[in-house]
Symmetry: C2
Subunit: 201 residues, 2 copies
Amino acid sequence: MKELTSQQKKVLQCIEFYIKKTGFPPTRANICNELGFKSPNAAESHLRALEKKGFIEITSGASRGINLVKKQNSENKIPVIGLIAAGYGTESIEEVERFIDCKNTFFESKFDYFLKVQGLSMKDAGILEDDLVAIKRTQDIKNGDIVVAKIDDEVTLKYFSSKDGDIKLLPANEDFDEIIIDQNRNDFSIIGKSVGLIREN
Amino acid sequence: MKELTSQQKKVLQCIEFYIKKTGFPPTRANICNELGFKSPNAAESHLRALEKKGFIEITSGASRGINLVKKQNSENKIPVIGLIAAGYGTESIEEVERFIDCKNTFFESKFDYFLKVQGLSMKDAGILEDDLVAIKRTQDIKNGDIVVAKIDDEVTLKYFSSKDGDIKLLPANEDFDEIIIDQNRNDFSIIGKSVGLIREN
DNA sequence: AAATATACTGTACAAATATATAGCATAAAA
DNA sequence: TTTTATGCTATATATTTGTACAGTATATTT
């Protein structure tokens, strides 16, 4: 999808605002009013540009026949990512299983995807197999955060702990051992952290 | 809000469908087309009835000037209900803390509200304090379901177990005891069951 | 019995609206 | 250099659309 000019963005926002306010899309005249244009053709040509770039659809002949095209992944469809057991590096070990109809503002922090949990290493944190943990991609991590970390070619969900520069990943289950990161030997990186969880019974 | 006649419901659904399909509300003529009316006034008078009953708002003079009035609690705003420690009978022990912007079709089963969890009696089921459990009001309960039950004047969230007519409520935490229901002595009822869970970190 | 709500057909028309055409000006791409 | 895209003003018009008025008929309420 092509980029919009600043003026075209204004027009698109104007349409979005008008729909929010009234419940139905604006006419050319309405847009002119909102943005101070003096000719309906100013609005018309902006609409044609927005249509050409794929941001709206126009139903020919219909009054207010403007339909906002939802951008795929932006705000309403959150991907659920499952981890494949073996690892081939980076984030290619992930695969999108499906999408959940939910805004990325659903929890307090915006987030990027749901991670489908494997295993019970975090069970005492109330995180069970097949739970969906909302992950925000960030490097802004504090002790005690539940993080998605990559160690060599494995991805794991654990409590984060850092003390005097020594990083540990702690499970929430007696049956699992803590993971001590040797930053010389291990290829270690933080992918993001948990900001929420959903479970479907 | 008054009740709609079956014909008025059809018109309302027609409007909802049209908006879903096209992205903008229908004209009188569009409604006539969809529903087989032969006079625009058929649509017009239905619209006026819907407006009078508060289901839509009509912007006078504007083409397609129909705005669906969101019904408070129907599909987009789910109440979060907290339990008050003491009990004063029935469901008046509950209070709506806030609403969450989420469809009641978010989980596999439709549900009625979120219950804010108190205590850790279900921690081994991955249900922690302050978690929000999606509750569907139903009497259709199977063994092993997580139910919201009322015993005398207390409301509790537990596993349900029924064997030879003996009903037990089982915690998921060693530190708690199971509750055996004496249907003669206890005022017992099932309010509903859990169909999902969300947690905000 | 009379009034009101529901549920339409049919006709009419002013106002709202999409849209084409003619211009003017600037900036970027071919 | 010539086209193409951007960003408007201004005018015109066929079509769409809301809406009023006149009827007909049935059911419900007062």
